[in-house]
């Protein structure tokens, strides 16, 4: 059976990269982040997803070896 950590890991890695990149590009856009009190929530959410995705993928590898 497909190990569920593979799709979860892949999804959040992809979304993480995308949203983090968007956060970096828009970092100086103060108008965009008015709503979020100038916190770059895209950058933070993106990083959280990226770390989570990568950790999920790493646990899959560990089991196989």
């Amino acid at each position: 059976m497909l190990d569920i950590r593979i799709p979860i890991g892949l999804l959040f890695t992809v979304l993480g990269v995308l949203v983090t990149a968007y956060g970096i590009i828009t970092n100086s856009d103060t108008e965009l982040y008015t709503k979020s009190f100038q916190y770059n929530v895209n950058l933070w959410s993106g990083l959280v997803m990226l770390v989570f995705g990568v950790v999920m993928l790493l646990t899959v590898k560990k089991k196989k070896t």
Binding site: M1, I8, F12, L15, L18, V19, L32, V41, V48, F52
Partner: protein, 575 residues
């Protein structure tokens, strides 16, 4: 096209597209494992405990739940956590320790099938048919709500939204069956947590943390006529019904919600129990509800706390935050408005995706429970029984299961249009659901722990409990009710301060009546099953489970104690 609330940018749409690509991809990959009915309808009993556990609570964390509970946060404050702590955890622990061994160990493939093994054919038939009908209706209503939301929020056409979401759900449940539904529920769980997290942080940031929230709430709550800290406490003001916005006393919460409603829901609803039945071993099946209980206890911080923040925002001049719609407060809009208020492009797409995902996985959950009950408990029991050729049967029932999936989705779509015609259908369904579930719990409980319980007793107990629930509902109304759907259609003998109090008491009466009737009829009728037939189905005839071979921290008892202690600590912290 109607004016949409959100204007999504390319990044929001990309997030949404990627997510649904993965959802469909999971179905596609799982397709090759679906070789027989058992793999398709029961996930081959192969799920690790943590996967089953997350799916277990995720099934319950549908979008209607998220929207409703955030709204309740704004309406009742932290009192809403009763639905997550006392109203869920004891029932989940009970299911894990006492009931799961029978559900899982009996090799029954569904809750109705357990009723067949323990009682008789008519009890199973009654439950299976009611469950099948209610499940597709529920899935239809959630489709309707989803399409309505997409129309309002994204400006998409209602019909297109409805058929598109139905097509996505159909595609992945048709391909990968229950496994696909479970995997997507786990995926949905994580996307909901990550998607809503920014709202919690930004919301608490704006009001100045928990202490700031308490301070700003005090005058707002006082204006409603309650003590200033009513919305940030859970049990403190439940001494009287008038002292808290829910309008229920502590014993109503304890017995109505904590005992009858929650045990009826968590311990007997096949939609939920099915997730634990898909686990890979008895230990995993028993640990499923307990692993689910841990995130369950923390979900209030994700969805109720933002609701309370929303209440502050509504009363803050200049915030521009409102849930008013056509001159009336629409609490279901709370979470949507919070997304709009706090989230910039990017994370906004994530938040919307989380909501859409939870809608769809809710439908998929219903459809995957429906096709199992249809195939095993209705089709195999009454239309085409199993033959001697097991392999051909497995293939045949796989085909039937797949067709039932298509059929279930089509009926759901029809139900969705029906829901559009009758605005009250949602309230109506919830009322009927609690009328069916509460007696069911009494009957299954007696069946598991009292070997004298007979099939006739169970059957008449179920009907009698339902009848008493109807009677109670027909004789009482919540204050300010305007339609007969809310009760009082016989005559009004009692008026409850709020609808919730009426629901609690309906369930309490139904459960008690079912229990009494089942006991009386059982004593008056002959037990048709021998002790041998009841082995593995009744507590006193089943060998006790030994956990010695399991590492201590994976033992059901250890987890159960941990979960209960955590609940007590949370209740004291927010007393």
């Amino acid at each position: 096209m109607k004016e949409a609330l959100f204007h999504l940018q390319w990044i929001d749409k990309a997030i949404m597209a990627i997510y649904f690509l993965f959802v469909l991809g999971i179905g596609w990959v799982l397709k090759k494992y679906m070789k027989d009915a058992n793999a398709f309808l029961e996930a081959g009993r192969s799920m690790p405990a943590w996967v089953a556990g997350l799916a277990f609570i995720s099934t319950n964390l549908g979008a209607l739940e998220v929207m409703g509970m955030t709204g309740s946060g704004a309406k009742y404050g932290m009192l809403t956590t009763h639905f997550y702590w006392i109203g869920a955890i004891p029932a989940m622990v009970f299911l894990a320790i006492f009931m799961m061994p029978f559900y899982y160990g009996s090799k029954a493939r569904s809750v109705p099938e357990y009723l067949k093994l323990r009682f008789d054919e008519k009890t199973r038939g009654l439950n299976a048919i009611l469950f099948a009908v209610m499940t597709v209706l529920a899935s239809g209503i959630s489709m309707y709500a989803l399409a309505l939301l997409m129309e309002k929020v994204l400006g998409w056409d209602f019909n297109v939204s409805l058929w598109l979401s139905a097509a996505i759900v159909l595609a992945y449940t048709y391909l990968g069956g229950l496994s696909s539904a479970i995997y997507n529920e786990v995926l949905q769980f994580f996307i909901i947590v990550i998607g809503l997290m920014p709202i919690v942080f930004l919301g608490l940031h704006e009001v100045g943390g928990w202490s700031g929230l308490k301070e700003s709430l005090a005058p707002i709550v006082a204006e409603k006529g309650f003590a200033g800290d009513t919305f940030t406490t859970t049990w403190k003001y439940t001494g009287t019904a008038a002292g808290n916005p829910m309008g229920v006393e502590w014993y109503g919460i304890l017995f109505g919600l904590g005992f009858v409603l929650s045990f009826g829901y968590w311990c007997t609803n096949f939609l939920i129990v099915q997730r634990a039945m898909a686990a890979e071993s008895t230990t995993a099946a028993r640990n499923t509800p307990l692993i689910g209980a841990i995130p369950k206890m923390l979900i209030p911080f994700l969805i109720i706390v933002p609701g309370i923040v929303a209440l502050v925002l509504m009363n803050k001049t200049g915030s521009g935050f409102t849930i008013m719609e056509n001159g009336k407060a629409n609490y279901d809009l709370t979470i949507i408005k919070l997304l709009e208020y706090y989230l910039p492009t990017g994370v906004l797409g994530l938040g919307i995706t989380a909501l859409l995902a939870s809608f769809m996985s809710g439908m998929a959950g219903n459809v995957s429970a429906f096709n199992t009950v249809w195939t095993y408990d209705i089709y195999q029991s009454y239309i085409r029984p199993a033959t001697n050729d097991k392999q051909a049967d497995a293939k045949h029932y796989l085909k039937v299961g797949r067709l039932a999936t298509v059929f279930g989705v089509l009926v759901s779509i029809a139900a969705a249009y029906l829901a559009g015609l009758f605005g009250n259908i949602m309230d109506f369904l919830q009322t009927i659901f609690s009328m069916i579930n509460a007696p069911l719990f009494a009957v299954i409980f007696l069946g598991m722990f009292w070997k004298r319980t007979t099939g006739h007793g169970a059957f008449i107990g179920l009907l009698g409990g339902f009848f008493v629930a109807l009677l109670h509902h027909g004789l009482t109304v919540p204050a300010g009710a305007t339609t007969l759907v809310k009760g009082g259609w016989i005559s009004v003998a009692h008026t409850y301060p709020v609808e919730m109090a009426q629901n609690f008491w309906t369930a309490i009466f139904a459960c008690a009546a079912a229990a009494i009737i089942t006991v009386v009829i059982s004593l008056g009728t002959k037990q048709q099953k021998t002790d041998d037939e009841l082995r593995g189905l009744v507590y006193s005839l089943t060998p006790k489970i030994q956990e010695d071979h399991v590492v201590w921290y994976k033992r059901t008892n250890t987890l159960a104690i941990f979960v209960l202690v955590m609940m007590v600590i949370l209740s004291i912290l927010f007393w």
